[in-house]
Symmetry: D3
Subunit: 150 residues, 6 copies
């Protein structure tokens, strides 16, 4: 569960895939109540029938929270989140869809301001049962350098 | 609740502030269960006491979901979300903190690929009761141009 | 659990008292998400400090739902709810308060439009740990008459 | 979101309509757990099949909480809830129904005991996707009089 | 609700049956979030289709929690739980199944270490709408002896 | 996350320890609503003050669900749950306690009825922040024998 990884231990292109999870109507209802966003896109089945997307869709914030939550299986005590870039939702998530996330090490960069750390870019791509991308983002980690830790 | 705004109706620098909401231990527990992220940073009070941050902190995905959820009071049928940029969590959120979000129109750009739309950048900044920023991001909307709608 | 009672079986002045339940911050957060009411009276601890009531208060709709929910221990297959009258919230409910409901048969009336039924008025009074009334209402039931059932 | 209205600002017959919301099986399960009411009318699909209503129905307390919650979009700092009258549930709500509430100013009365306030009666009517009324009640507000505020 | 029963008041073979409750997809999603168990057996509809059981199944811990929870209608102040034996899940529970529990007094034994108490074995059997057993366990209570209480 | 283990791969005495999790008031409220058990031991803070245990305690079914849920990090496709034995709750769990589970292989037995499987006994012991045992049980698995799989 805990897996110590210094900046030098990350390997460009290495990828891992999470378990999958079926998104349910209950998740959408729960997320509306949790976030306070009751927009008709998520909550009003009758109105959605009249729209191009045709049915209630998951909140982007939920697809992000669950898509990223699926990756939370390994704790690295040598790294912490700096932020996320380019968060996109190319396709909608509907109740009944089953999603999983692939995390790929997309870049390994120096951090000019923090010489003791390196910058790891985890490309997170969440796909549904048809292989369509429903969430894309770049998770930026700062990982301790081995030399700095000594 | 619905407020129709074309690209031309957005005003650079215009700002609105949401209601505030106190984040509770219950929210953190819910979010762990909703996202599946049970990392000790959010769930293990004993371990957190031994860390620099000192107490359980909200998940970044939750600060994002609630920080953005607070803004969900006006539906604009002429715009839709393109994505989010530069999502950051400069300070932690603890149970008991009260947060609100300020949305400022930060940029209004042409979209080279979509001439019928303009690109609106909403700068979202969520602050706590001490005025510290706990979430920052740029919400990119694509808004229909009035001329194109005619 | 099921207790069959015809109109004739109700006794004016008969009273029963429910178990007690401590209302928690989690209940208030949950109710906001369930009802969609995120008003600062329930959700913004900082603002509440500046108000006469001093702290976040339970939603009236929650005090009603839980106050009545506490009475849901006996099913009478011979009666059904007609409605509620005079719903009041004389004192606020705060997280940490412990409430229970007393149900008293307050009136037994004919129902001019439904000769096969009688009208039972259950006076429901929910009190907190200091004996203060936090919810009052009159629950109107229509109960089958024994003679009509024969 | 905040809209200051004195008693004199309310207009008899003025009406507003809320967004709509689809009630789900998840809502019914949540409400049972929240209220503690696990009666078979709401929870036992097999038994419900043998009854005239045919399927699990929403709790009245839930239809009230959500029906009123839908109206919680405008905060009037000059008014507060006095209570509710004539709460009725003329038709059942099933999972899958989409409901919305219309609020109409039904009466504007003096309050003999509180000369600085007037009594506003908001008639709340919640309807489903077929236009059938599923909840009716009269919400009584006490609103400050402009003259008294001066 | 409270029903005082000394050891001598329990009768071998006496049985009571609870109300029934339909298990929903929402319950399974809640339980995953509550317990932290997001195994694909409960959460991944696509994978389950490829397995002999064919669809997402309830967690055993949930069938236990709800199966026992259904029995929580009578509080006996003279008895307390010692533990559970032989907990089994002979058949799966799917969303849509309706379950109820039968509690039978299966044994009444002396407790060698606690002469003031007797040992009551409540056999708990939870069945679905087809009469199949989905949970079996033996709940061991220690009940005060009448003679000891005098 | 998936780790294939045949019966022959289990080692007597091998132990693993889970992450820890702080149990909150929200968990207790949630479990009451999920299980339907609203007994005053869990829900009535005022009454609990008058009892030897002094404060609301977690439901045994919740301590079991979370204690076992904490272990759900490794899926073994070669084994399945047969049941649980000797489930005990030697000490209460209060809101604010932090618990974790240690799983030890306590026995490896033949299964007379299933020659292709062996019987693995996982001793599960959940302890709080003071090292006190709050849950004990023996989880019985049936694991495929390597020879049988060939």
């Amino acid at each position: 569960m805990e897996r110590e990884q210094f900046f030098e231990d990350y390997e460009l292109g290495a990828a891992r895939q999470t378990l999958a999870r079926t998104i349910t109507e209950a998740d959408i209802v729960f997320h509306a109540g949790h976030s306070g966003d009751f927009f008709p896109h998520h909550m009003d089945a009758e109105w959605c029938k009249t729209q191009p997307f045709g049915a209630r869709v998951a909140h982007g914030t939920m697809t992000f929270a669950i898509g990223i939550g699926l990756t939370a299986t390994q704790i690295n005590p040598r790294a912490f989140t700096y932020g996320y870039e380019r968060l996109r939702f190319p396709n909608p998530v509907y109740a009944g869809d089953t999603i999983r996330t692939t995390v790929t090490i997309g870049a390994l960069d120096d951090d000019p301001k923090r010489p003791a750390h390196g910058r790891v870019t985890e490309v997170c791509e969440t796909t549904n049962q048809d292989g369509k991308t429903v969430m894309y983002c770049e998770h930026i980690l700062l990982a301790e350098r081995k030399e700095a830790a000594q």
